[in-house]
Each structure stands twice: as structure tokens, then as C-alpha cells.
Amino acid sequence: MEDKIEAVVYKCKDNVDTDVIIPARYLSSTDASELGKHAMEDYDKEFSNVPHEIIVAGKNFGCGSSREHAPIALKAAGVKVVIAKSFARIFFRNSINLGLPVIVCKDAGKLDGKIAVHLQTGEIIAPGEIIRFPPFTGEIKEILDAGGLVAFIKAKKAKV
């Protein structure tokens, strides 16, 4: 897990669903880079042409289908972190399992422009203010640090 991610935010509305994150017409592919080319295509045709390393969303980000292709596509498109008021639960688990940090932040609506996200300390440095979120702990932190669930399980097995 990177310690500091600094970028201009990409803002989304509430209830961004996994059908718009990666439409079904691309689901016959399991290739991350192919999926990444089409990330958010039905939400915003310009997504790939604007800064989107940090997605800032409203509530219920990632609702709908369980397709893991959604966080795979976002990651492959260069998204480093998603900050939202709330997440749909399957998307949240999928993202952690893929090593994509997803942050629940009640004040997500306030974030705009260039910000710096400090994952280890739980701080978002925004213009004129610092917003705090509970940093990852326990097994979720260990999974993110390993780079995802599969890497985490492999590392655990190697230790035994």
C-alpha cells in the first residue's frame, strides 16, 4: 500500500454502479489492461482523458453486480484510491482483496481539486484543511500491504 497519493480528484455522484464502471459487453474478458481501457466508459466518456488517480464519490459507490472486473478495471486504469461517503459491500470487499484502498469518509463531499491522501496515518490534506479517516487496521491492512488477498494468503503460507 502506498503511503501518500497526491492528485487532482475525480468527482462522482451517489450510487455509481458496477454496470457503468465496467459494462457487461466487456465481461467476457479477464484481461486487466483490456478492462482498464473501458473503465467508467458508460459513466463518463472523458474519464480516461482527465485525472482520475483519486476517485471521490458520494454514497453507495460500486452498487449492483458483484463483478470483480469493476475494481480490476479501475486499478488497471490507474486509480490508486477511492474515497466515498459509503460503499456497496461486495465492491468494498473486492477492492480490498485486489489491494485497491477504499476509504469511507463522511466528508468526501468537501474534497475537491488537488489533495494528498496519507493511507498510513488516515489523513487527507485538502486545500485549507485536513480531513481524518480511520486508517486501515488488522487483517484489512495486512491484505492491502501484501497487495491483495492472494498475495496475503501466499505470504502466510510461506511463513508456515
Binding site: D17, D19, L27, T30, D42, N60, C63, I90
Partner: protein, 417 residues
Amino acid sequence: MGLTITEKIFSSSVEKEVHAGEMVTSKIDYSLVNDITGPLAVMEFEKIAKKVWDSNKVVIVLDHFTPNKDIKSAGNCKMLREFARKQGIKHFYEGGNVGIEHELLPEKGIARPGLVMVGADSHTCTYGGLGAFSTGIGSTETAAVWATGELWFRVPETFRFKVHGTLRKWVTGKDVILKIIGEIGVDGALYKAMEFAGDAVKEMTLAQRLTMCNMAVEAGAKSGIVEPDYKTLLYVKQHSTLPYKIFKSDPDAVYEKEFEFDGRQIESMVAAPHLPSNVKPASSFSDVEVDQVVIGSCTNGRYEDLEVAAEILKGRKVAGGVRMIVVPATPSIYKQAMTEGLLKIFMDAGGIISPPTCGPCLGGHMGILAEGETCIATTNRNFVGRMGHSRSKVYLASPATAAASAVKGKITDPRNI
């Protein structure tokens, strides 16, 4: 302090009393994948293990992009077929044995009361209709389940929805769940268990209870559940000889929130684009013309759904210029619809009969919408681009409302037929 049915299922699984909010690692009774989520699960699984924990407990259903819609989909199915053979997977369904997963698993006696089931498909919550705990997970997590046979959960708090009274003619579980989602919103039950109770739910058939639990995820819920009763037992005994466990919520069980609905007041409901919570009575849509009607999916492709549609379509014609696609959810439903004459009714009306597939519901194949087209469907999602072009529209409704709309060529309350 009493326990909810969901707390009891987890307590039984982990062999100690647990309550909402506790983290548990539970044994998994069945783990399901389909032809979209399965390939990713296999790829991740092969990085961490060699043999699945129990080849009787992995279920693979090739139902989404089948019959194979393109070369890549065919390749995905081939990969899963080889994996199933190599692993000796008992429950592998394809070709003439395949049905839409969430209808097939109850029918095959795989989904049973009291079990803990996970599926790499968000609508895995359907089996709550039989009194099981079941929920959707991702592909990587499925790989971990296949390796270990376990998964961690936070035992969910429960929202109870009591629906009183007898429902009106044409009003079914689909209308009730749309009404509920319309009231609480698409994140109204985020991470919670939705327990459905009350006279109206008791009077519902198993099929309607499965429909209600199927759409719990559209309110953000982890699971939906209905207490098993004599109808559940009858169904389970007809479909399985394997063990099951009957749990009921205690009278003093703790609910985080309780909602009450008067079933007698609920009309046929429709969710307008582009959220399943954008719900209004069918009677309030007067001029919404449709290009396509889809009757099927894991929400409403059961025999009694087809029966209701046939009751309306018998002796009538689908309006000119409207494509009506009927998708019997499983081979046995298809066969029954054939022998009972329902397929003839649909074909005489001008409808198209599709093989069992999830196809049109998720914009896969077998009924994709062009730019600007409108569909009324008995499916579960109406997000932007769900059934095709990003500027097409999907309205969600019951089989009765969909059939009535097919006849009139515009969204129609079934009472007006």
C-alpha cells in the same frame, strides 16, 4: 435477549451463540460461480491451492453468456469445464442442464434452509427465500473459499419488514419488494439483513419469497430472509433428501429497524430508469411506450411467473412493433411451460421464447437495446446501459405488468387489461 434467524444460522455454523456486529469465520456449505465470475476465481485459485476443499460443495453454472455469445465467452466456458473435470466438481451445469443459477440451485435441492451459502454473483441473496443465509462475494474471495472452505463475516444487524394483509389481484412479491426499495432507497439496508414477515409474506408462494430476497441486494443488503414454514418444508422435501436446519427468529429478537407496510394498499409497481428505487405505481405511467418486453431472469423466471404472464396474454397479441422475449429460467420450467401450453400462448401472442439464460438482463445477449430504446422487464436492475446502449431505458416490473404492457405497447397496470 432473543436472536434473529440470521444470528441463529451463524450461531449454528460457528457452534456458539453470536450476535449482530460480531466477526465470525464460518464454514461454507456451498460456493457458487458462473461463467463471468468463475474464470477470475479459477485464475486466482490456481495461484494459492491445488484442490478445492470439497468438490461436492462447489457449484458452477454456465448461465450468463450462454449459449456462448462469442469466442471469448466460449473460451471462458471451456476453461470452467476443464476445471470442473479436473477437480471432480459434482455440481457443474451447462448445455441442456443449465438454468439461471438462482432458480436452479433451489430446484436442484442445493439451496436449503439453515445453510451458509456464498456466490460470486450479487443475487446469491435469493436463497433467503428458503430460510438460508446466502450472500454475494467476489471472485478472489471465492478462490479463498475454495482453498479453505471458510469465510469471515460480520454478523449483520436485521431490518424487519412486516407486510400486513392480503395482496390484491396481480400484486405479487415483486411489487412488494419494489415498494420497499422505493421507500428505503438503493442503500437503505446497506450491510444489513432484510427479514420479510407478516401475513402477506406468509401467504406468498416460495417463488415470490425468492423474488423478494433476490432483490434485497438492490437495497444494499447483505442478505434477505424469510422464516421457513410448511411451504418451505414441502418444497425442500420435493427437491432434496439432504439435511437442512429450520430456524426462526425469537419473539424478543433485536431488530435494528422495523418497517410496516399495508399489503392491501400496494399496487402493481414499476421502477423507472435508472435506479431500482425510482418506484411509482404502474397506473401512474400513462404514456411510456416500449420497444421490448423481457419476462424472465433470476428475479422472475419461475413457472408461476410465466403462468401469470400467460393468463394475461392468452388470446391476446403483443402490440405491433414490440418484441416480447420470454425466458423460462430452467430446463424443467421450460418443459413444464411447454407441456402446459404456456409456450404456445406466448408464441400465439407473437412472443419469442429464449433458452434459459441471464442474457438480456445484464445486456449480455438475447435482447440488447439500441440507442433510445425502452424495455419493461421483470429483471432486477435498470442502471444506465444495463440492457444495452447507454442511452436505452429499462423499467422494472412484475410479470403481470410486463405482460399487460406487451399487449398495450406501453406501460400498463394489469388491472387495465
